[in-house]
Structures are given as C-alpha cells and as structure tokens.
Amino acid sequence: MVYVTSWDEFVGRSVQLYKADPQSTRYCMKYRHCDGKLVLKVTDNKEMQRFSFIISSDVQLLFKSVISLLLAFCLGLLIWEECLKFKTDQAQDAKKMEKLNNIFFALMARGPDVDLSEVTGKEQMEAQPAKKGRGRKQHSDILQTAGREAEVLFSFGLLQKFCGVGKHDPMMLLSLPPSIRLHKK
C-alpha cells in the first residue's frame, strides 16, 4: 500500500490503474468527521507475491520454498501490485476529490474508453468564467492603487491606442518595470 503525496500523481496513476483493469479496480473513500480525515484508495486487488526466506532444516521443504520463491518472483514481475492511497485533512482536497469523483463516475458508468477531456473540459469551461471574474477583481484593486493608466497595461487594444505601441511587442512592455510603463504615458 502506497500513500501518494502528490494529488496529480494520485489521479494520474489511479486512472491508469483503472484503464488497465476496469473490471476489478475500485475507488474507495473513508471519511471521519470526528478526526477531520479523508482517505481515498484505488486498488485492483492484485498483489505482488511476498517472499520471505524460509530457513528450514528439512531439505524437501527447502526445495519447495525455493521453487515457490522463484514462482513468486516470476509472477511478481507479471502481476503488478497496485493499491494507491491518498490521505488528507484539507478542505481544498475535498474539492479536488469531487473532480476525481466525476472522472471515476464517467469512467465506470460509461466505460474505460470515455474521453476524459469531456469531463475535465466541462470543468475548465466552468472555471474560465470564474477566472475572468477574478481578473476583473484584480483590475479594480490595481485601479485603486495605480490609477487609470494601469488599466491600459492589462488590455492590449487600449495599450496600442494610447501609446501607439502596436509596433512594439506587447510582451516586452509587460516585462518592463511598472514605473517605466507609467512614464510612457
């Protein structure tokens, strides 16, 4: 059992694990309100044979154990152990888990060949208007601190109009320190 620390890695590996064996892979969630803990587990129930050296005086037993060890070793190479776990106590991870829930519901209900970009694409579409909103919020903050001219810096069309910087590379201007940009007005 492996506790994965990175969320993106957990998502990537669990989707991969599911696509490798959609029939036996399951996605489990355990929530404890009293401890404020959330644990996610994705497993396909396949285990790598564990081997341990058996010290035995009985030769036959030793022989058998060697054979089983070899078999276990060979099988171990073919059957990969996979149990991915992720634990957290952060509220932000609950939001990420919702996205993973959506992914798994789509994969399991429709099939492993579902186009995941549909699921994530929807989320991106939902996120985009939210991002624009954030941008506007930043706008208003900057207006308060740096004045009207600052608005120009964030909309290319206005930039070109004001300073006639259509010929200049806009990205270059953005890289200049703010004081110089303001001076150009």
Binding site: R26, R32, A91, E98, R110, L182
Partner: protein, 122 residues
Amino acid sequence: MGLLQPDPFLNELTSMFERNRDKGSVWVTVKRSSMKSKSQKNKMATAGEPVEYRCLIRATDGKKKISTTVGAKDHQRFQASYATLLKAHMAALKKRERKDKKKGVDGDRKDGAGSTKKPKRV
C-alpha cells in the same frame, strides 16, 4: 436495506453522515459492475449480446450497509447530488490557513508598491 434506488440511497447516505458526526467513519466505494453473475455474463458473451455495465456505489458506517447502481444515462445527475451531499457534510476538514496568510502578505505588498509609485508619478 441493501440495494436501493439512487435517490433513497442519497437520503440514507445523508443520515449516515449525520449519525457519524461525533464518532465513527463513513466508507463509500465505487466500482464498475454489470450486476450479473459470472455464468450469466459468459452466456451473454457467447450469445453475442453486449454486456451492459453500471456503476455500483456502496456505503457503510461499519454497522449498516447500503448500495445503489447508476447507469450511464443518470450518472451525471447522481454525481451532482452526490457532490452537493459531500460538500455539505465534509465540513470538518481544515481550511487552508497558508493561503490566508499569503493573501495578507500580498495585500501588504500591493499597498506598499502602490504607495511608492505615487510620489514618482508626481
């Protein structure tokens, strides 16, 4: 109890979360299933019929077990209600403190930068 329709399942899951607020855990497992036994599946495979798969969702609190299945058509509606349910009940998780601290620092920085800009403009 046991196998329920999606809506009663969600109601039961809500009460399960509420019952286990002060003590205990709630386990939810999601898995793909055709809901048929192996022999039935083999028969269908040999007959050439497509095996229809559904999403099996199981929940337990250690004492009571409930489950439901969701098909491809209704899984989006179910996942929306399920997400709302989880959001409402997973309130014990910690809010991100670092971000608040960061916001405070960024806010100070912005004010500081703004105040230094003004004299230059004049």
